[in-house]
Amino acid sequence: MNFQKIGLIIRREYVTRVMKKSFILLTLLTPVLFLLFIVIASLIFAYEGDEKKIIAVVDESEMLNKAIPDAKNIYFKFPQESLEQLKSEVKEGKYDGVLVLPPIQVSNKEYVPQYFSDKRLPLTLDETVKDVVRSKVRDFKLKAMGITAEEMDRLDTRIQIKPQSITDKGENTSAYSNIIGAALGYIMTILMFMITIVYGSFVMRGVFEEKVNRINELIISSVKPMELMLGKIIGIGGVGLTQFGIWAILMPIVVMIGQLLVPGAAQNPPQMNPEMMNQISEFDFGMVINEISNQNWLLILPALIFYFIGGYLLYASLFAAIGSALGDDMNEGQSLTLPVMLPVILSFYIAMSILRSPDSSLAFWTSLIPFFSPIVMPARLAFNPPVWQIGLSLVLLFLGVLASIWVAARIYRVGILMYGKKANFKELWKWISYRG
């Protein structure tokens, strides 16, 4: 291996791509589009609708005391008229509808108020009305059963299971471990998935273009096919790192700008039902920060980097082999790319399911197999998997990378000099077995 020549190839692959207008545009525009998306999405979320509803209430149950607080965009009136009169007033447009609350008993498991109108209530308003009625019914029942609100509050008990590890590892796990772990695992998995698919395809396209341009033979008379392949893979990997690096810097800025433009909208979308609000208010931000900083980053970060590199090399080399086996028409290549895409997509789904059970046997086995481990293991990292598993998985991944580069290089060296038709798997197998 001539590292100086690999260096030249890496440089060319990197520079020509990074200097391309399309690269610069895509890299800079993505955060801008993201910003636009945040702003528009928050505006849509923040849009509360301008439909104001005035609803006449006929309270046959007499539990309301003629008092329902006006909810958002809904105004409740308690006119004296009969139902028939009110109905005609709805037609005249004085009210939007009439809500009839039938009599109620404590034993009622179901309560069916009627809403008279020719126009149905919009979904969100429907929810609001239900919520109002539900809490009134609750109050009514409590009162009828002789339970005070205080007693009721005492019935509610907040439960939190605090995980305590038995072995003395001094792990400071808290109740949020699982949620934070899942979130981190989710982000890592998505990143890995994108990197393998997107930059793997870049490698494939690059190899294919060299082949179509008929430049391979000229290059190969100066450098070994292995050197060309590795240079290409590493160069494009560098392009990927650059792109993600820029995004890693720009995205937080964009999110900050987004919050300035639409204050509060981004992290606090309205229309959430009260239970969710409740959960979120229990969500202690300090604990989250604490939990994130309590992660064993000294282990996770290097492991992540190795999985990034390993996963990228493994799949990019296979994509390079596929690119070299393509014919002059790239669209014919579907049958060749599928076997490489399949494990990537599969491991993505495995990773998603593992977030719920990070220590299952599926998680264990798939995080050892090199095809899956680069995507599956990052999903588990935040759940503190045993160190020996990470070690074994990385060793196996390393061997897997060597094997896939070896196989890919053997296909590549033959493939890049074959012109015309795309190869099938039988031919690929023959190429692997050709000597020097």
């Binding site: 001539n2 020549k5 030249l8 190839i9 060319r12 020509t16 060299e210 341009n213 008929r214 430049i215 033979e217 000229l218 290059i219 190969i220 008379s221 100066s222 450098v223 060296r413 000099l417 012109y419 023959k430 077995s433 050709y434 000597r435 020097g436």
Partner: protein, 303 residues
């Protein structure tokens, strides 16, 4: 001293034996023709010489030493399937290719400028390849091949797709480089191109060399004692009686001599009959004829 030597070189792809125990010596400083039909094994031989693939058996010596990585600088190779990075600028591209050959950046730059001046394309440095016409691209391709001043220039079908102007330009350059000591291997299936350029040739068929020699030597070896006489007057009657006439027109005749017959005696017949001789010439076989005859024979033998 030989610039290139193949010793018992073989190469197979699966069951297909592309090159079969080939022995070949190419002396330094000549223009050598590697001839054969498509699929004869020429490109595979060249790929082994350029180190793109390795032989299964045998040895390849370049300038007396077995091929290794350092020979990359000694060889300039123009493949039959050629191309350049379409989106790259001419100057950048040539520098890149030269540096892959191991040339320092500064030296590469100077040489590229020289070559571009020679081809009168100095103002193309900043142009992308895809902006150039086909003929212009071929000039750049040629520069890429010879930029590092190789000892051995290998050209695989160099004139395919070239317009007549570029063909002559490149022929001139080949001769010029050859005159200054570069050995040239010229691979083609177009025989007529070889006759005027090559000093020595070898014929390849089905992975084997079936004939090797100098141009004049081969023509001599395969000549059939055929003479053409162009004359004024009427043909002496003894000629058809004593000699085998292959072809004749009003003012010329082609005669095949038997081994015991003498060309001077034939000429004398015409002179004695009072014919005015305009031309008397031995008809030598063209490479194409030799090739077809030999390949046909080889195929018959193997059949």
């Amino acid at each position: 001293m030989n610039i290139l030597e193949l010793q018992g070189v073989s190469k197979s792809f699966g069951d297909f034996r592309a090159v079969n125990t080939v022995d070949l010596q190419i002396p330094k400083g000549i223009i050598f023709g590697l001839l054969g039909p498509n699929g004869a094994g020429k490109t595979t031989m060249i790929r082994m010489i350029t180190g793109i693939t390795g032989p299964d058996e045998g040895r390849i010596l370049i300038d007396g030493t077995p091929i290794h990585a350092d020979h990359i600088r000694d060889i300039g190779y123009m493949p039959e399937e050629r191309g350049l990075y379409k989106k790259m600028k001419v100057g950048d591209q040539l520098i890149y290719l030269a540096r892959l050959k191991g040339m320092p950046r500064k030296e590469a730059k100077d040489r590229i400028r020289n070559w571009m001046e020679r081809f009168q394309i100095s103002d193309w440095w900043e142009k992308k390849i895809e902006e150039l016409s086909k003929g212009m691209q071929q000039k750049v391709q040629f520069i890429a091949t010879v930029l590092h001043d190789p000892k051995l220039l290998i050209l695989d079908e160099p004139f395919s797709g070239l317009d007549p102007i570029n063909t002559n330009l490149i022929k001139d350059e080949i001769h010029r480089m050859n005159a200054s000591g570069t050995s040239v291997i010229f691979s083609t299936h177009r025989m007529e191109q070889v006759e005027e350029i090559c000093e020595q040739i070898t014929l390849v068929n089905k992975g084997k060399l079936i004939l090797t020699g100098t141009m004049t030597g081969l023509k001599d070896q395969f000549k059939k004692n055929i003479f053409k006489i162009v004359f004024d007057g009427s043909m002496p009657s003894v000629v058809p009686a004593k000699y085998e006439i292959l072809d004749e027109q009003r003012d010329w005749v082609k005669v095949k001599l038997q081994p015991e017959q003498d060309s001077n005696a034939l000429l004398a017949q015409f002179m004695q009959a009072g014919c005015q001789i305009r031309l008397f010439q031995e008809v030598l076989p063209t490479l194409n004829e030799i090739f077809i005859e030999q390949v046909g024979e080889a195929n018959r033998q193997s059949a």
